[in-house]
């Protein structure tokens, strides 16, 4: 689980074996030889794209036309255009909206709610509901996207249900594309938060909640004053992880709305894809990718700092 991010207590690490009498530096080098495959892979395929992203964002590389044959270095031009392009702030805002609404609020609140409810519902219902939530999350993302496309389509399940009670539903994917993809991402990703919070809540010592109950605290008060403070580390970890996951959501939006209508649901990953591949402006698309990378890096650093006491 998310837990695996926090390293286990270092108890197992212990007395280092002493297989030989080689000089120390050399011994260390030999010992760390097994890291090489991982380092090579990470160096070429993780660091590589990152470095390439910065480099590519300073060129006018294209998919067709003369800039495809001989891309040239254009300095900050892509970034200047980015700032001048009205699509960029709009896309940035849509990305923030998407992350805030679907991850920070949607998945976290629903995940915590489910974690709490799952403690006390009827056992059969509990099993069925948690299974459904997890299935939505284990499904391949493209399949989940189809399922939600069908659900929100104007000839789909949602409008059929609304129609049954006499409401003519809107064309969700067209009139309210952001709402549709936000709800879709909540559907798709809540399981993660639910699992994290279920595990965290299970670890809250029962005496604490019991004592609060004896003192006359209501369920809500117990949640706010006892449980949340106790699991706050899980909350912050989970907020960070869901934010980062949601930042890179592409498939769900691409399948459901294609970023449209117009650019009304083009978050940064969609915008980067469209600019680079649909409009053949690879350099420009790379600049957008670089911006995303920087946003992700900032979140990563904040996240790692929050974990730090435990790693040390």
């Amino acid at each position: 689980m998310a837990t695996t991010l926090a390293p286990a207590p270092a108890g197992a690490r212990g007395s280092a074996p002493e297989p030989g009498h080689r000089p120390r530096a050399r011994r260390t080098a030999v010992r760390y030889l097994p890291l090489v495959p991982a380092v090579v892979l990470l160096g070429v395929f993780m660091l590589g794209p990152v470095v390439w992203s910065f480099y590519g964002s300073f060129t006018n590389a294209a998919l067709t036309g003369r800039n495809a044959l001989a891309p040239s270095f254009v300095g900050l031009q892509n970034y200047q255009e980015l700032l001048a392009d009205p699509e960029f702030p709009k896309s940035l805002w849509l990305t923030v909206l998407f992350v805030l609404a679907s991850a920070v609020v949607g998945q976290n609140v629903l995940g915590l709610t489910l974690a709490m409810l799952l403690r006390s519902g009827a056992p059969a219902v509990r099993t069925v509901v948690s299974t459904l939530v997890v299935v939505a999350w284990v499904l391949p993302e493209i399949v989940a996207s189809f399922a939600l496309y069908a659900f929100f389509h104007d000839a789909g399940t949602l409008n059929a249900l609304l129609g049954a009670v006499g409401i003519e539903g809107p064309t969700w994917l067209y009139e309210t594309p952001m709402l549709a993809v936000i709800l879709a991402n909540v559907w798709r990703g809540t399981a993660f938060s639910m699992l994290v919070y279920s595990a965290a809540v299970a670890e809250v010592p029962p005496e604490l909640t019991e004592a609060a109950r004896m003192d006359g605290a209501t369920a809500r008060q117990r949640l706010v004053w006892v449980i949340l403070p106790t699991i706050r580390r899980s909350v912050s970890t989970n907020l960070m992880l869901t934010t980062l996951q949601t930042l890179s959501v592409f498939t769900l939006i691409y399948v459901m709305t294609g970023g449209g209508p117009g650019t009304d649901s083009s978050t940064l990953p969609i915008l980067a894809y469209q600019e680079a591949f649909k409009f053949a402006q690879v350099g420009y698309g790379t600049a957008i990718a670089t911006v995303m990378l920087l946003i992700g890096a900032v979140f990563s650093v904040v996240y790692i700092r929050s974990l730090r006491p435990e790693v040390d």
Partner: protein
């Protein structure tokens, strides 16, 4: 990325101990009702895939088929449409899983067994890598692959997918390895075995379920990945099911809903089955879930 790291079992939520209290029954009824409502919201989109795939005249609405039929499956499960892409998915996922596990186990050993100033910076870097939105950066990845001559190469795509799942895999593997007591290896060392022999003979057999968990989790992640092969694999005969099903959706999705659902179902079953397997594995051998501290 990190999403998949959590491919560990749902912690069976212990029932709250305070249900005997007065009002508990009503609370429980309300809770159950709210849960059921949420469950229905999650069920409806899922139900569509299940029901439409058996519906001879599937639409976009979830409904009981008037005419149950396996026709949709018969139409899509042809070698060209489904079997070859599914086989490609398997190659891609198994290759990614193997490469990741091998690299992760090798890397985890020194990190778990030796104390060094190198460990912490390395682990921080890996953790940092876990968080980067690499899949959102497919544009520079594409350009890099053009430069490396690895475009449309299964091996190159596997290497990239392995690299992106490696940080999480290293963390998981190291944690599994930390839980294998070092004392067991000491016997091997006194016999003069090298570190690698000790890893192979002593440590690995003890953490077999852990390795299986890492493998399956990487496998499932690769199985479901759409964006990476969509950009990096171009020729139709190399494309995995995720991409071919998208092409199907584009070509016929707006007409043949039943077939789309049937294909989706067939493609999802392995992922779901492996998830169940990994839940079993972790549930019995490793209490992973309890380790959520955050």
């Amino acid at each position: 990325m990190a999403r998949d790291a959590t491919l560990a079992p749902a912690a069976p939520a212990p029932a709250a101990p305070a249900l005997a209290a007065p009002g508990g029954r009503r609370l429980r009824a309300t809770t159950t009702a709210v849960l059921a409502l949420i469950g229905v919201c999650f069920l409806l989109p899922l139900g569509w895939i299940l029901l439409a795939s058996f519906d001879a005249r599937g639409t976009l609405v979830v409904r009981l088929p008037q005419e149950w039929s396996l026709q949709n499956f018969a139409e899509v499960l042809t070698p060209e449409l489904a079997w070859r892409p599914l086989w490609n998915s398997f190659l891609l996922s198994a290759g990614t899983g193997l490469l990741t596990v091998v690299a992760a186990v090798l890397a985890a050993y020194p990190l778990s067994r030796y104390q060094s100033r190198l460990n912490k910076p390395f682990l921080y870097t890996v953790l940092f890598g876990t968080c980067l939105p690499i899949t959102a950066m497919m544009v520079p990845v594409y350009s890099l692959f053009v430069r490396l001559g690895q475009l449309d190469s299964l091996a190159g795509t596997i290497a990239f997918m392995a690299a992106t799942s490696l940080p999480m895999a290293i963390w998981m593997t190291k944690n599994f390895m930390d839980s294998v007591p070092v004392s067991l290896e000491e016997a091997a060392w006194t016999d003069g075995a090298t570190a690698m022999t000790a890893l192979r003979r002593v440590v690995l057999p003890l953490m077999r379920p852990g390795v299986a968990v890492v493998f399956i989790f990487v496998f499932v992640q690769a199985w479901g990945n759409f964006f990476v092969p969509f950009v990096l694999l171009l020729s139709p005969e190399k494309q995995p099911a995720a991409v071919s099903i998208f092409a199907f959706f584009g070509s016929y999705g707006t007409v043949a809903y039943g077939q789309l659902a049937a294909y989706s179902l067939a493609y999802s079953v392995p992922a779901l089955a492996l998830y169940v397997l990994v839940s079993r594995l972790t549930g019995s051998s490793f209490a992973l879930a309890g380790a959520v501290k955050g």
